[in-house]
Amino acid sequence: MSKPVLRVQDLSVTFKNQTGGLLHRRERQIRAVDGISFDLHAGESLGIVGESGSGKSTLARAILGLVKSNRGRVLWMGEDLTAMDEEALRQKRKQLQIVFQDPIASLDPRMTAGDIIAEPLWTFHPNMARLQVEERTRGMMKMVGLLANQINRYPHEFSGGQCQRIGIARALVLNPRLVICDEPVSALDVSIQAQIINLLRDLQKKLGLALIFIAHDLSVVRHISDRVMVMYMGQAMELSEKTALFRRPLHPYTNALMRSVPIPDPKKAAQAARQTWLTGDMPSPYDPPSGCIFHTRCPYRIRRCTADVPVLRRMEHGDWAACHRAENLDLSIPATD
């Protein structure tokens, strides 16, 4: 296999905040991202899934250097991004782009669609001829399914799905090698979600992009990822090849997430009666549980789970799981349809 374009090694991000009044000042820490490692190859698509507070968006920002990591490395083509100064990092960002969740809020309302898409070109290629910039902008608009005559319109004149297309065109205009999509369809209506997922998948294949696709919902990730990483409270619970993960999750948390995905079919919904696979809420990140971070909500916990931290380890078929019982649990999903 070729060398990975991106290697994330033991990446950690800690947020500090102060609470209490003047007299009782305490400093508290949250480990938003806690020892995440993975490789990503050119043309490969990795899905990252987790509930709110799992650290998935912080991980994305830490990879791009948009938040400071306090441990670990991010190797892009062999160079450590976490060790670079601002200017060097800025140059690298040509190759590393991000698409955000809220398509409308992430676009400048006072700029036209054309200017929003062209802005990265002005920034990184200030000497590019105007005509060339416009040609490239129109080309991008066509590629993402916008009409050339919409080039002078403002974001409020577009629907949510169209705004997300503008965001994607802007992210792709510099020919990046890696695109991180942070919940790009969560804010969109379901009929539009499918359009955007299909578009991203087609573009990824066509352009040979490395893609990180962040979502809170496994059903969305299934359509766009080669491998899936499941995160919980800043840690990776499982990192598996997609087909294997959806057939037989290795980690009880993956299993719970998968079984919580509701089925839009009255008969199946009645049959499944959606057993509540997870009880309770996520623990406070200021006071994470001992041992396995998931043990407080895990239906399969044994005594060992409250004491020993399970490391993410390689399993029989090359997939990874952080669970003491991963070998012994059979969490196969019964085949349907």
């Binding site: 089925i263 079919d265 349907t336």
Partner: protein
């Protein structure tokens, strides 16, 4: 008798760009003990129709039509009368519980006030009742947690508080507007299940407004599908899921990514975008995005074909009350 009977409901907003017809002539009923799902995407008008009935429209909005609750027209009531109905007979829960709770007051203060005002309970009775309701929504440790402030609760727990508050006055009708949309999927499952259980216990009717077809499949008896301010299809939950007639309903069902389906590469998408409500197309409002559109769809709006409880607004025939099997992807569900 129907608990709620809505007819000819129109909601309009005056905006600088012109008049927006958010709800354009809507009829539906909710029977005693029944759960009606109102499904549609943003801009369909599903939230505004409820706001109009409850007298909660924004200042630039106006509404006309009838909304008979137990025979009395909500649309003709004074704010004072509506206020009484809202607390005692109809309860509402919204998408974001944080915006409906006062961040400066403890849950106890907020719940006790509601119970004292609407049920005329004394303070200690009201408190006991509030704790009981928190226990009913399976709040762990309700005696302790009732003393906390909203920010000390997680999103899922806040939504439980909202449901408990809604149930305080034992309403006849609970209107839930996207109650699980802001929650994580594991918590959604818990809340959906909870609403289902409480409905059976409390014998109330529910209007569930959502874009989440799975929640509707799990909870509802009947479904009303809305598009661009109009109802486009209604029927029992089985009708809508197994025998959808309107191309929009079929497209919507097919675009949901599902884990219970064999793996397939391409997600079905409805092409295009919802119409601008300021500038609606002639004829059928869905025709620009419809795979079945034909010449006549441009000429005049399709009529609301009435086959009793099964209705659709489309030129495609409903054969003898039985809807023809769709050719598209959702057909495999049957």
């Amino acid at each position: 008798m129907a608990l709620l009977e809505v007819s000819g409901l129109h909601v309009e907003f005056e905006t600088p760009e012109g008049r927006v017809r958010a709800v354009d002539g809507l009829d539906f009923v909710v029977k005693e003990g029944e759960t009606l799902g109102i499904v549609g995407e943003s801009g369909a008008g599903k939230s505004q129709l409820v706001m109009a009935m409850m007298g909660l429209l924004a200042e630039n909005g106006s509404a006309r039509g009838k909304a008979l609750f137990r025979g009395e027209d909500l649309m003709q009531m004074s704010p004072r009368e509506l206020n009484g109905i809202r607390g005692r007979n109809i309860a509402m829960i919204f998408q974001d519980p944080m915006t409906s709770l006062n961040p400066y007051l403890t849950i106890e203060t907020q719940m006790v006030e509601v119970a004292m005002h609407h049920q005329r309970l004394r303070k200690h009775e009201a408190r006991a009742h509030a704790v009981e309701m928190l226990r009913a929504v399976r709040m762990p440790d309700p005696e302790e947690r009732i003393r906390q402030y909203p920010h000390e609760y997680s999103g899922g727990m806040r939504q439980r508080v909202m449901i408990a508050m809604g149930l305080l006055c034992e309403p006849d009708l609970l209107i839930a507007d996207e109650p699980t949309t802001a929650l994580d999927v594991t918590v959604q499952a818990q809340i959906t299940q909870l609403v289902g259980e409480l409905r059976t216990k409390a014998h109330m009717s529910i209007i569930l407004i959502t874009h989440d077809l799975a929640a509707v499949a799990e909870l509802c008896d009947r479904i009303l599908v809305m598009y661009a301010g109009e109802a486009v299809e209604t029927g029992t939950v089985d009708d809508i899921f197994y025998r959808p007639q309107h191309p929009y309903t079929r497209g919507l069902l097919a675009s949901v990514p599902r884990l219970d389906r064999a793996f397939d590469e391409d997600l079905h998408a409805i092409p295009g975008n919802p119409p601008n409500l300021l500038n609606l197309p002639s004829g059928c409002r869905f025709r620009d995005r419809c795979s079945e559109a034909r010449e006549e769809c441009k000429l005049r709006p399709p009529v609301w074909v009435d086959e009793g409880e099964r209705m659709s607004r489309c030129v495609l025939p409903m054969e003898g009350g039985h809807i023809r099997q769709p050719a598209g992807p959702p057909g495999e569900a049957a």
